[in-house]
Symmetry: C2
Subunit: 502 residues, 2 copies
Amino acid sequence: SSPFPFSLSLTMSAPSPCFQMSEKTLCVSQSLFTNNRTRLCEALRAVEELPATAVVCLQGGKSLLRDDTDHEPMFRQESYFHWAYGVIEPDFFGAIEVKTGKSFLFIPRLPESYAVVMGAIKPCEYFQKRYQVDVVAYTDEIATVLKSINSDALPELLVMNGINTDSGSKTAEVTFENIEWFKVNQSILFKAIVECRVIKTPEEIEVIRYANKISSEAHKEVMRQVRPGLMEYQLESIFKHHTYYHGGARNVSYTCICGSGHNASVLHYGHAGEPNAKQIKDGDVCLFDMGAEYHCYASDITCSFPANGKFSDKQKLIYNMVLKSNRAVLAASKPGVSWPEMHRLADRVHLEELKNAGFLQGDVDEMMANYLGGTFMPHGLGHFLGIDTHDVGGYPEGTQREPHPGLKSLRCGRNLAAGMVVTIEPGIYFINHLLDHALKDPVLSKFLVADKINEFRGFGGIRIEDDVVITETGTDLLTDVPRTVEEIEATMAEEPTMPIVE
Amino acid sequence: SSPFPFSLSLTMSAPSPCFQMSEKTLCVSQSLFTNNRTRLCEALRAVEELPATAVVCLQGGKSLLRDDTDHEPMFRQESYFHWAYGVIEPDFFGAIEVKTGKSFLFIPRLPESYAVVMGAIKPCEYFQKRYQVDVVAYTDEIATVLKSINSDALPELLVMNGINTDSGSKTAEVTFENIEWFKVNQSILFKAIVECRVIKTPEEIEVIRYANKISSEAHKEVMRQVRPGLMEYQLESIFKHHTYYHGGARNVSYTCICGSGHNASVLHYGHAGEPNAKQIKDGDVCLFDMGAEYHCYASDITCSFPANGKFSDKQKLIYNMVLKSNRAVLAASKPGVSWPEMHRLADRVHLEELKNAGFLQGDVDEMMANYLGGTFMPHGLGHFLGIDTHDVGGYPEGTQREPHPGLKSLRCGRNLAAGMVVTIEPGIYFINHLLDHALKDPVLSKFLVADKINEFRGFGGIRIEDDVVITETGTDLLTDVPRTVEEIEATMAEEPTMPIVE
Ligand SMILES: [Mn+2]
Ligand SMILES: [Mn+2]
């Protein structure tokens, strides 16, 4: 009688083929993942060197313990495996026969004691219905099952083998008992699956849109609640509570960044060593970069605003420069446009505006040629967004990362295409050691008006980050938060609305 | 001018030697950790085979990435390293000269780019003051610094080498450049540091007491807010928000268990595969096992109550049985008492009460001899609590785990001693497959009144979990939540108080 898949442990024979945390949260149909597997097979069939008996073989994320203890950190599915199956449990394997699209899941054989500690042991039929695959067997049967797919010939296994261009880390190697029975092909799968992940389907976009919706609502509530005297982490707490309680998002996409005052100039502030533990002061700027994840699809949103609810002249000045670059990139983004060019567009807007406001002097083209933009925006303009916050595929083979300030941190070097989801997140920061470096640099220093710049030391920074889908003609903005100075001040003046009791 | 250590990045020369998230949260002095190191040196000096040049060498937790991505899960310090240093940053090493107690920290040499992304790079002097050690150097200098401790002889390094008795996992091996210069001793340190961790100091107890305080407050708020119609995870969200927003606890000690109805019989419900996503129904029992962690010291509290705020007769009946065993163990616990005997005491109370209520028949001594208690309480009575939720030292060399139902899951086989912190968490559950097993068992079945037991299938379970310090004469109860039926009903009738805006 309950509409939710997780409450079906008592009626395990008929699980809903969807993920949903409650009636009020998004229902993610398993067809999203079935469709992803179909897309992958189509892409692989177009690969000239595809073996005739190709079978994709993927290993899901493993349950892990912290150090030598029995503490179990919350399991979060490995991203490629999630993309292909949408499985929420650890220790699965999957396979897909490329020719037919026939799909397999392999589940761990659990001991009887599991039922007492972790919950009823679900049979293969449960997972077959829940995850809409053709075959479910146990992980100790992988080799036997794969061997029997085709009576004529052993399958050739396509396995992951590639480097994540954001981390530099290699994908994990698939291992299971008797894998040595099979020929293993490491050269085809990675590239194909990465390219599939780069282009999001309408169903995937709906999940990212939902993650954006609940995160946008939470950012607005944070704006209503923030005030001098609170600790930065208290706003992190409100954000997480709002997205979980109201949106069913148990995880955030990345550690919440709640920088106030000077901390707003630390790009990834908020980590364990700098745990959002400053008291927010009157006059501080707040730069809050927070996003919820729903069924492993990310959002990534930054709002910048004055702690006391009213922009100072200084804050308004810098804020409007960044809003201008954000809107310029939003307007210019469409299929065919180079993302590094968009980064350069944001740089140009910043340099022009900084010159107009008296921070810089001289010729903007010359500033651009010397990458002065990287002094104020030392990070990339934005990145792919999907199952990973920094989603895969930013630099496919043959695409080079430009080695210049700012651009060298850009996580995507491609031309935009319809179905990509990117963040647009320009920022201007006053970072002492970058300013000192530029003021000492024989080329850069001549552009700088030192007195004006020094007035803004300690200001922190402004970042405005939106998530957008690239459409056939332009962009579809997923983020829905107040963006103009007036809109922000109006939202901040509202009474907090978080209904703590429904 | 700010009293908080984390806001001192601008005045790094004089950090406070303490951990505190805000003025309103507990200040944990660094002396807690200095004292721990002193205790360790004293214990080591009492070891007959201690080398004359012994130097303890510990490796802190490493910063990790998720799978092949650049996603950084929140760093949480490795527990032994935390016990010795209280360091919140990853990638440190530590050393202690046993003879003198002289202490060393080794910090990673960070690239200039760290300052832009992660925050100002703090010099050695900062960490020396913040963590109150004698020497701070870089991790690429470990071998050189250790070599120079003593001009007469190379130190012999005492390193970790042991098995965690809850996980069965081995401690990680210490590795650093040129460690091969030194003789490495693997036989002394583990046992000594585990025994030190078993007995908590007054300063450690104050942190566990604080974690209990903020978690108790949050449990009470959850009781006020729970009602049929809410989803289980919404109460998890309230708990986490309350402990973080009001208590400064960024992490929970373990994944929140929010079981309602039948889910209350799943001991570790709430993990990623069973994510607290059932709607709470009128008539459900709720078993909520949740604890916040503060500066890596745990709390672990379970409250059981009726979803609708009024105990049914059935709920009251089982609840009072468990409360009776909880209180019996609390009253009997003191130095010298065997913890497995306390487990047996709880079993005996349960069996007597179940017999009195008509669930069981026959001789209770005979039931005890056949370990029937494990059918209703298939977990251990409680465990050490400290920097790990299941803290170390439950089974030192020579202490055997008893192989019987219930007892085989007991995480501590020792006699109690002053300064130990344990959980007292008896429970009675109606778990179908354990009941089926007992009903089919030729010995156990004769004790069971099948009709009465079958009436309670689907009931779920009751657990009442408190955290206590063993004192010289008895116990000091750290947990402060309503425990009697009347107290619980009174709390649940209160208006929610969580002030969402201060
Ligand atoms: Mn971003
Ligand atoms: Mn416990």
